[in-house]
Structure formats: C-alpha cells, structure tokens
C-alpha cells in the first residue's frame, strides 16, 4: 500500500490543487511513501468494534443566541488582503474555458 506510483502522486496533487514540479513529484514519492510505511504499524492493532474519536471535549451542538452581531470592520478592511477586487467584490479568474 505504501509504494506510490508517479501517476497516483500526480492524481493526489490534482485532488489537493497543488501544482508540483517534476522534481518535487520525484522527491515527494519517496518521502510520502516512507511516512505511509511508518503509519502502517497501526494495521497490526485489532481495533474492530472500537468507537472512533474525532474530538475530545464531549461538547455537542454548541449554539449562541440567535441575534445579529454587527461586523466592526468595513468592507475595505475586509477586502484589503484579497489579491484582486473590483467594485467591492473579490475578482476571480475565468472558471470555464
């Protein structure tokens, strides 16, 4: 399971929207492979029927009062870090060809 082909790696990179160079793909193959090999120790444990833990607080359904909370920041302040804006909106590149 831990040996990753270059095609598999390229597919994962696409799923993660991560543009990688040829050189990076080659290096990552070995490194991700060694990480996966390391974590595969877990397969030795029989954990069938054990419940899964996804969080440890025990909190369930945390609500706040259903009321309007005004944002203290202006539109300009909120958009200040956006790479491209137009007329107070965030601008994106073409989605479809």
């Amino acid at each position: 399971m831990s040996k990753l082909s270059k095609e598999e790696l390229a597919n994962i990179a696409t799923l993660a929207r991560l543009g990688l160079s040829e050189d990076e793909l080659n290096r990552l193959g070995g490194q991700v492979g060694s990480i996966l090999e390391f974590v595969e120790q877990l397969q030795k444990i029989d954990a069938s029927g054990v419940k899964q833990t996804s969080q440890v607080t025990g909190l369930v359904d945390v609500w706040r009062e259903d009321e309007v909370v005004r944002c203290e920041l202006s539109r300009e302040e909120l958009l200040k870090n956006a790479p491209a804006t137009e007329k107070g909106y965030i601008k994106v590149k073409r989605v479809l060809q």
Partner: protein, 484 residues
Amino acid sequence: MSDLSYLSIDQAHDLLVQKKITAVELTQYHLERIRQLDEVLELTLEICESSALAQAEKVDAKIAAGEAIGLLEGIPYTAKDMFLTAGIKTTAASKILEKFEPPFSATVIKKLDQAGAILIAKVNHDEFAHGTTTENSAYRVTRNPWDTNRAPGGSSGGSAAAVAADVGIFSIGTDTGGSIRQPAAFCGVTGLKPTYGLVSRYGVVAMASSLDTIGPVTRSAQDAAIVLAAIAGRDVADSTTIQIDDYDFVKGNDSLAGKTVGVIKQYIDGLDDDNRQVFDAAVARMKEAGAKVREIDMPNISYSLPCYYIVVPSEISSNLSRYDGIRFGYSDETATDLQQTYLRSRGKGFGPEAKRRIMTGTYALSAGYYDAYYKKAMQVRTLIIEDFRRALDEVDFLVGPTSPTPAVKLGENAEDPVAMYLLDIMTVAINLAGVPSVSVPAGFVDNLPVGMQIIGRQGDDGDVLRAARAFQQVTDWHAKRPQL
C-alpha cells in the same frame, strides 16, 4: 535603575508598582535584547517597536495617576507568528502569507492586550507549525541559546529560544503534538499545553483542529499560571472552548506531599542511559518532596506517533485548502484560469513540509483508503485515551521525559521527515488524549537542558501547574541561564 534581566512576572510587576522602573524602560530593555541577539539567534519575524512603546506609555500614565495595575500590565511578551495581530503582519512562517496583514486579532492577543501585556515581537517557528526544529520556517533558522549549532526545537522554537534568552518575559505558542513542550525542554524553559478547548483558538492559524492548543512559554510554572489565567475561558467565537470548574491557576496548595505520580513505562524504556539517569534524578526530587512514585504501563501509547501522523496530515490537508490564491494570501499572477490560480498559488506558496503533509493527508482521506488510515487512526485514538483514563484513575499525575534526547544539531534531519517526526514521540499522545501537560526543566545531558512532563486529567490544569510549581520549589534547573 534596577537590574531588569531575567525578571519573573511577579518581580517585574513589583518593580513597576514600586515605581523602581517604568513600563517604557522595561519595554526598551527587551527591545534592546532583540537588537543584541536577533542576528545570532534569528528569533523574530516582525518587531512591534512603536506599538509596544505606545502601550508602555499608557501603563506608565496609569501608574503615575495612582491607579492599580494588573499582574500582566506592562509585561513585554512575544507571540508565535500563528496568532493574528490586527495591522501587524502575520505570516505563519509561510511564503503564502508573506504580505498578510490581518484585519482582526486572535482572542488570545485581545485578552493579553486587555490585560495590559505588551507585544514586542512576532517570533519564528516551523511553517504552519509543521515541524520539530523550527527549520521548516520559510524565513529564518532560529538557534538554540544553549548551543547555537543546535535547533531550539519546534514548532514554537522562536518562543522558547526568546524566553530562554530573556527576549520578552513570556511567549505564546501553539501545541498540536508537542510544539510548546518540546522546544521548552530543548531551551530549558517551562511550556504548558493546556487541556484541549481551555484556550480559544479564534484568530489562530489552524493546523490540526482536533489537536491544536494554545499555551504559554515561560521561565517558571508560576508565570505560566499567571498567563494561563489571562487567556483561558469560553469564547463564543470558538465553539470548541470548554468550561471548567477552577480557573484559579495561580493560588492553591503547591505541595507534592502525598500525591501519587505515575512514571510512564513506555517513555522511560525509550531513553538511553544518560537521559535515563537524569530523568530518574528528577523523579527522585519529586519523591523527596513527598510524592509516591510508581511505574505505569500504557501499552497503546506506543502507537501514538503513527496515529498522530495520520490524523494530523489529514486535518492539515483540509485546513490548508483555504489558501486558494483568491481571498487572501499569495496569488500567482501568471494564472489564466481558476484551476491554474489554485495550482500555481499553492504550488509556489507552500514549503516542502506543508506539501508533504497535504499530499499524505489527501491520500489518507481519499476514496478507498479512508477506512485503512483515518478511520483506523480514530479508533486507535480511543484506545490511547482509555490508557490515559485508566492511568489517571490510579495516580494524580503522570510524568515522563518531554523528548528522548536534548536539542538536536541543525540540519540533522533535513531530508528525512520520519526522523524529524520521531522527536515528538513522547508528546503527541497527550494531544490525542486532550489532557494538560507542562514541560519543566529537569536537568542537563551533555550541558544541554532536558525537560520532564507533568500530565494531569482533563481540566486539571491548575493541579498540573501547582505540581510544577512544587517541583520548581525543590529544584533550580529552571533558574539556569544560557551563556550568551
């Protein structure tokens, strides 16, 4: 003027109240420390000189007007660059946030601000807190003040090195798998990973959300208690914050007499002779202070590192998906469509370790592998939690070394991610279980500091800190200073 070096929070507070020093003088002293040491230790990512001095002047005006001041008022501190600071650049030590100036501050920063503490600098760490040596920072290689050829630990390496070098009286860090405790151990200072959910994470750059915690790096357990009291508490902006019974971390009975302390067998079995001897000597001091010590077997703890390295990259791959080159952060200008914007911005913006973790996590969560990796890890996590529950039913505290070795040499694990991960082998289980743990200085191996963790039950952060204070009353390792 009084000697301003290596002051505790209580000492600095007394000097301010007695008007022997001013907050401006104290702030100037720490800014001067940055000027003296930053080139050698490579600590800071951003220095906040003008805002710090302006805040200090306000504190001085209050004192001059005869008003009472709180314990943290006028106390200079540094923060890991994972905490959003309004109007002050916040990079997460990543190129993808190189120019990011947040419009708001993290709850923790706001609380410290309200308490009157003075932020003097944002300090270095591993990019997005991914690492154990701070070498994964996209900007600088921070040095260990005890030996500048060695790493300060990580990921909160800048925080621990700064506190050890008397740059700021305390620092604020994040701990997902040891990132406060392990650098604290490597730099000979005190580092607290609180109970999961005790401190709000609103406005803190997310790493692995089911594990991330925020805590102080200090020169004593007493200082850690003072800082924790200022930052703990429920936050409507972070729905994972919890309510506990006792928020009084500063007062209480500091005695170890009659307490039972369990030494985690699996951790001491992982030590070589030199490290074992030093650790045993530290435990002997607890016995002398009246603690009853026994060994505790926690068989599933051996699986905590592989479990952690499934949960963590999985959650990272999900959390880092927000860096899309569209709303904030680096955006590649050569892209001609949306898909290219994603691929190129993320491909150029993230460093090698972030990429490794995104790839590993995306793989572990992908169709066909989810059950074998993520689901299995969540089940093993339950087994590890049960080990802690059983152990902490039998004893008041658990102890173990913070790291199998003292600080490693810079460059030692550069191309081997798994070797780098192994530096966290004794800290990650505590995050998986969500319990509090404080690392305290516990001796020296080859003239380098090592740490011991004191671990308690969920929500018993006050007891853990009281035990650490009791330990520091009978030891003086926390008072040792590096030669700089």
